[in-house]
């Protein structure tokens, strides 16, 4: 290999630069998000369950409601019935999108597009 030294140095520099997002954040402690602002007593399922599964649940809900006209959710944990609705059921208690939804979504860098159509409570007049 011609110019092995230059090439290897170049590769090392490239890899280091490419991995900057990984080593650049070592030592920096990013605070874990604390989604808050809950009015109700409890959620429709346990908090742990909701934390892990709310995205699948909402995805399922939208198909149930729009495609199968099935609008009633029966809570697995509490056996009570809820209307399958993000803007009505969920946002009734979690009424502040910025302090509830966005804190975790920003932290984990996900951008669900619910709100490009559904109305968040601040839009309520």
């Amino acid at each position: 290999m011609y110019d092995a030294g230059k090439i290897i140095i170049g590769l090392v520099v490239f890899v280091l630069l490419a991995l900057f997002p990984l080593w650049g954040s070592i030592g920096q402690d990013v605070a874990k998000p604390k989604p808050a602002i809950v009015k109700g007593e409890r959620c429709i399922e346990s908090a742990d369950y909701m934390r892990a599964n709310h995205m699948q649940m909402l995805d399922q809900w939208r198909d149930d409601v729009v495609r199968n006209n099935d609008r009633v959710y029966v809570s697995k944990a509490y056996k009570t019935e809820f209307n399958k609705s993000l803007s009505n059921t969920c946002m009734d208690c979690h009424s502040n999108k910025k302090e509830f939804c966005d804190t975790c979504h920003d932290y984990s860098s996900v951008t669900p597009y619910c709100w490009s159509c559904h109305i968040e409570p601040k839009g309520r007049i």
């Binding site: 729009v66 006209n69 490009s116 159509c117 559904h118 109305i119 601040k122 839009g123 007049i125």
Partner: protein, 268 residues
């Protein structure tokens, strides 16, 4: 390996014939029965329909369409000079003249009565909807109760349905229907928080107020009409009000010759 080109072609031909035979035999055996019955009318259960009595519908009245467009957050796009942008208009419920609404029934010398009338038009919620057939993502689908509904989540904005719909009942959002402040629709109306808006790049149309039917309410336009021009009900129920109206009056459908089976009827 010793086969000549001729032998090879013969065998390939016989092989593909057998293959075709097997495929068609399998198709005959496993033919979906639902396919055929979904085309013919669903006699049991519900089929929502509407009768529009044009003798009771004043030409300049827009109560129903204004109500519909405000509860469903339908934007009003405007040109830079402030006039209505008809090319990009989003329409769920609107009015048009006789020749445009019933092109196959328009005669040479139209009565003054028909010339002056503005016919109320909306999605016909066809029994055999061409929009559903062409939708590549099944964003538009037929519900068992006859409503042709759109799942806005799935719409990719290809506009095949707009090309397929013979009634012009579908509109495309060329622009974001919301304003920057997210509290108003384009055109100045407040957003009704009980119904979502759409986003840019999505097709929309009348949904026969599926969200209200789910709460046992009649469609907003029927409720809003103060002249009793709109009758809504179950076409499959022989005792329903709508069937009584249909039985007592001569009614016509829009372009019935296309075989779409519209669920909206007109008393002209």
């Amino acid at each position: 390996m010793e086969d000549s080109r001729r032998e090879f072609l013969k065998k390939a031909g016989v092989g593909s014939l057998i293959g075709l035979g097997v495929v068609s035999a399998v198709n005959v055996v496993t033919e979906k029965k639902g396919e055929a019955s979904s085309r013919s009318s669903n006699k049991s259960g519900t089929r929502w329909g509407m009768v529009i009595d044009m003798s009771k519908c004043p030409a300049d009245c827009k109560i129903c369409s204004e109500k519909c467009h405000s509860v469903h957050n339908v934007p009003e796009f405007r040109k830079p000079d402030g006039s209505a942008d008809l090319k990009n208009e989003v329409k769920w419920l609107w009015k048009d003249n006789y020749n445009n609404v019933f092109p196959s029934k328009s005669g040479q010398f139209l009565s003054n009565n028909l010339k002056q009338k503005e016919f109320l038009v909306l999605c016909n919620h066809c029994e055999n909807p061409p929009c559903v057939r062409v939708c590549p993502t099944q964003a538009t689908f037929s519900r068992p109760d006859g409503i042709v509904l759109m799942d806005f989540h799935r719409c990719i904005g290809c506009r095949f349905c707009m090309a397929a719909c013979p009634y012009g009942s579908r509109s495309f959002n060329w622009f974001d229907p919301r304003t920057e402040d997210e509290k108003h629709l384009v055109g100045g109306k407040n957003i009704d928080p009980n119904f979502p808006t759409r986003e840019r790049g999505v097709v929309e149309k009348c949904n026969f107020c599926a969200e209200r039917l789910a709460k046992n309410q009649i469609p907003a336009c029927v409720e809003a009409c103060t002249f009793g021009a709109l009758t809504f009900g179950n076409l499959n129920d022989p005792d329903s009000e709508i069937r009584a109206v249909l039985a007592a009056n001569n009614t016509i459908q829009r372009k019935p010759e296309l075989g779409t089976g519209p669920s909206v009827f007109y008393i002209v």
